[in-house]
C-alpha cells in the first residue's frame, strides 16, 4: 500500500475508533496483500501527527495505544456537548432494562426475542456506562454471547436492598393501584390502541 493511502486509511481508522489502538492492533486492520508492516504504520502515524498540528484535535499516544483527542485548549467549548438538559430515556431502553432486571442473566438475543426487535448497541452501552448493568458471564452457545445482570449501583439508585424488593409480577399487572398518585389512564386490553399511541409518543420524546 502506498504511504499516502496508508496514512489516510489510518486517519479514517483512528477517527472512528472507539478506543485507543496500539500499533499491533492497527496492523490487524490490513490484509496480507496490503503489504503493510509496523514500521510503515509508525511512519504514517508520525506524518499524521505533524499534519494534525494545525487542527482542533491531536494524535495522542497512551499506554493502550493511539487515539485522536480534541485539544485541551478547546475543552470549555467541547464541554458544552453535555450542557443540555439530560434527555429522557427511550422506551426501548426502559424495556431492555426491565427485561434485564426481571430475567437476568439474559443475553442480547434473548432480549431481542422477547421484544421482537433488535436491541441497539447504544442502549446496552448507555446502561453499562450508567453502571446499571454489567456482563456477568457468557452463555455456552455458539458465539458465546454475553449475559447481562443488574449491579449494586442499580439497586442503590432505586433505593433497593435486593432485587426482591422490586414489585412482583402480580403487582405490575395492577400498577395503577401500586402508584395511584400517578393516575394512569385505563390500560386494559381493549385499550391497546391508546397504549400504542402512548408508547409512540414516549418513544419520540427521547
Amino acid at each position: 500500500m502506498q504511504a499516502e493511502q496508508l496514512k489516510k486509511t489510518l486517519d479514517a481508522i483512528l477517527l472512528s475508533a472507539e478506543k485507543p489502538l496500539p500499533v499491533d492492533k492497527l496492523i490487524q486492520y490490513f490484509r496480507p496483500e496490503d503489504v503493510v508492516n509496523s514500521n510503515d504504520i509508525r511512519e504514517a502515524l508520525t506524518t499524521l501527527e505533524e499534519e494534525t498540528r494545525e487542527r482542533g484535535f491531536e494524535l495522542v499516544r497512551t499506554a493502550s495505544g493511539y487515539r485522536y483527542k480534541t485539544r485541551e485548549e478547546y475543552k470549555q467549548w467541547v464541554s458544552r456537548h453535555w450542557e443540555e438538559k439530560p434527555k429522557k430515556y427511550s422506551r426501548a431502553l426502559l424495556e431492555t432494562l426491565a427485561l434485564i432486571v426481571y430475567r437476568q442473566p439474559i443475553t442480547r438475543a434473548e432480549i431481542e426475542e422477547i421484544r421482537g426487535v433488535a436491541v441497539s448497541s447504544h442502549i446496552i452501552k448507555t446502561l453499562q456506562e450508567r453502571e446499571w448493568i454489567r456482563i456477568i458471564g457468557h452463555k455456552e452457545v455458539p458465539g458465546k454471547p454475553a449475559m447481562f445482570g443488574t449491579t449494586r449501583q442499580f439497586l442503590d439508585y432505586f433505593n433497593l436492598k435486593t432485587l426482591n424488593e422490586m414489585p412482583p409480577l402480580a403487582e405490575i399487572q395492577d400498577i395503577d393501584k401500586l402508584y395511584p398518585e400517578l393516575d394512569f389512564k385505563p390500560q386494559n386490553n381493549e385499550d391497546n390502541k391508546e397504549q400504542e399511541e402512548q408508547q409512540n409518543s414516549r418513544a419520540s420524546e427521547q
Binding site: 485522536y68 426481571y102 422477547i114 449475559m147 435486593t162
Partner: protein
C-alpha cells in the same frame, strides 16, 4: 375484491391478442426444501407475478394472462402442499387472475365497449409495486452510516464536570415491563412468573463470583446467616446455573469436596 373460486383457472387456455398461448409449461419442479427457501424470496403475490413475467421476458403491459395464471397456480399449488400457512394474499390473487382470465375469454360485444382491458388494474398494480421494489433497492444502495462510512468518534477532552444523567422512576421500569408482558405470549409471561427474582439475582451474583480457571468450593456459596430461605434460594440458583450449562460441578471422588466453576469456554 372478486371472489371466484380458484378452480376457474382450469378453464381451457385462450388465444390472447390473436396469438396462441405459446410456451409449453416450463420445468416447474423444485424440491420441497428448496421451495421454502425459494418462497421466502418473494414478498407476496405481486412479487411472484413479476418474477414469472420477467423470467420469460414478457411485456408487463401485455401479459399473456392465461399462461401466467397457469404458472402462478402451479406455484400456489406447490406452496399449499408444502406450506399450510400460505398467506391468504396468494389465494386472493389466484382468484383475481382467474377472473381476469375468464373476462378475457368473453367475446367483446358492442355493449361492453366502454369496458377497460380486464388486465389494466392488475398491470397498474404490478407496475406500481415494481417501482417501489426498485426504490427499495435504490435505498439499499445509498451510502449508509456504519456500513459505508463511520461518524467521527474523536475523544472529547472536556472540563471535569458531572454530566447530568436522565432520571428514571422505578414505576417507569415496571410500566415498561408490563408492556412487554402484554405483548409477549402467555407462555413467556408464565415462565417469568415461575422464577422468583431472588433466584435470578442469586444466579447473577454467583456467576460473577465463578471463574473458569479456578474453583469455588460448594459450601462457600452458602451463607448460613441467611437462614433456610437463603440456602434454598442459593441451591435453586445453583441448580439453574447447572441446568443452563453456565456452571460446572466437579467432584474428584465420592465424599471429596465439591467444587463449582464457571462453564468452560470451548474456544480461547
Amino acid at each position: 375484491m372478486h371472489s371466484h373460486p380458484p378452480k376457474q383457472a382450469e378453464l381451457p387456455f385462450a388465444i390472447v391478442e390473436g396469438k396462441p398461448v405459446s410456451t409449453p409449461p416450463e420445468d416447474l419442479y423444485i424440491p420441497p426444501q428448496a421451495l421454502e427457501v425459494f418462497l421466502d424470496t418473494f414478498e407476496g403475490p405481486l412479487d411472484l407475478l413479476l418474477y414469472l413475467i420477467k423470467r420469460q421476458n414478457l411485456d408487463i403491459l401485455d401479459i399473456p394472462i392465461a399462461e401466467v395464471t397457469r404458472q402462478y397456480m402451479e406455484y400456489v399449488e406447490m406452496m399449499r402442499t408444502i406450506k399450510l400457512d400460505l398467506a391468504a394474499e396468494y389465494l386472493v390473487m389466484a382468484a383475481l387472475l382467474a377472473e381476469i382470465k375468464s373476462r378475457m375469454l368473453l367475446p367483446r360485444h358492442e355493449e361492453t365497449e366502454d369496458e377497460d382491458d380486464p388486465r389494466a388494474e392488475l398491470v397498474r398494480r404490478l407496475q406500481e409495486y415494481e417501482r417501489f421494489k426498485q426504490a427499495a433497492e435504490n435505498i439499499d444502495e445509498l451510502p449508509r452510516d456504519r456500513r459505508d462510512h463511520w461518524s467521527s468518534n474523536v475523544e472529547a477532552v472536556r472540563e471535569q464536570k458531572e454530566t447530568p444523567q436522565p432520571d428514571v422512576e422505578l414505576h417507569e421500569i415496571l410500566l415498561a415491563f408490563k408492556d412487554i408482558l402484554m405483548r409477549a405470549d402467555m407462555s413467556i409471561s408464565h415462565e417469568i412468573q415461575r422464577e422468583s427474582l431472588s433466584v435470578r439475582e442469586r444466579m447473577s451474583n454467583m456467576l460473577a463470583l465463578l471463574k473458569t480457571d479456578s474453583f469455588v468450593e460448594f459450601h462457600s456459596l452458602f451463607t448460613l446467616e441467611e437462614g433456610r430461605m437463603g440456602v434454598v434460594v442459593t441451591m435453586i440458583a445453583l441448580l439453574e446455573l447447572l441446568k443452563e450449562k453456565l456452571a460446572d460441578i466437579v467432584q474428584s471422588e465420592p465424599y471429596a469436596p465439591i467444587y463449582i466453576q464457571a462453564a468452560q469456554q470451548a474456544t480461547d
